[in-house]
């Protein structure tokens, strides 16, 4: 399947979804005016990837700031990964956050408590 790479802007994060190299990463700032418009391609890519995933999927998130609508879309991404995990595939979500950013750590903890999928908190 085709890889998806979106370069970051001041309002949107960097996205690398590369099934060939096993790199799944969303990082940076996510405050798009139209979150679903921006993440539609990401959600569609994950849906397509879920049909034939790698033996192990490690999805890295490293966001410095995101708006409320982005947090909803992130939850949709997590739900998709959760479904992949429940379907018997090995999935790990790694939530990277700046070590001094307590809010981002708490956000990760909330997501972790909500989801039934391996969810690692990684302070950097």
């Amino acid at each position: 399947m085709r890889n998806l790479v979106i370069e970051p802007t001041s309002k949107t994060p960097k996205v690398i979804l590369n099934a060939d190299l096993g790199i799944f990463e969303i990082s940076g700032r996510s405050i798009p005016e139209d979150s679903i418009g921006f993440y539609r391609k990401v959600l569609d890519w994950i849906d397509e990837y879920s049909k034939n995933p790698l033996p192990e999927t490690v999805f890295k998130f490293h966001l410095e700031y995101f708006n409320t609508s982005s947090s909803k879309v992130l939850l949709d991404i997590f739900r998709r990964l959760e479904r992949l995990h429940k379907a018997g595939h090995k999935v790990v979500i790694r939530w990277h956050y700046d070590a001094d950013d307590e809010d981002m750590a708490e956000t990760g903890q909330d997501y972790q408590a909500l989801l039934d999928v391996p969810f690692e908190l990684v302070p950097v």
């Binding site: 700031y65 409320t68 609508s69 809010d103």
Partner: protein, 155 residues
Amino acid sequence: METEGRRKIDEFAEESRILENARLTLAKIDLTPDQWRQHYEQLVEAYANLLESARVLTRNSDRLQRKLDEANRKLEMQNKLLEKEAEEALLKSESVLQLNKRLAEEKMRLDTRINRVQMALFVLIAVLTVVILFMLYYLIFDPERAMRLMQEIRK
């Protein structure tokens, strides 16, 4: 408004779909009790997910608001600090300008005095030169008269 409304529906597309399915199910009249139960279970599960999501999103939103408030507070503080520093810099520049003005005036006064002294020295040197030239003239061409003049000066 229409765009905003459509955007909201898009972000909750999955939830909207579940609600629409539930409404369609409700309109059906030929379902067996087991089928009703199955639909109801699905609806309960979806509702539980939605409730948990709402909790997480609310907490996220509160954290974002707190972050924004904190950023605004810092910005206001920095603005006040900048305004204060700008005022101080303005006062300093005004005092520097005044000092420069005073120094310029003082320089002008000194220049005038120096010019006067220079002029006086020039006149003095000119007079002395004339006297010396006269003396030399008399010493060379009329030594007797020169001696007489010297004796008169001594008297």
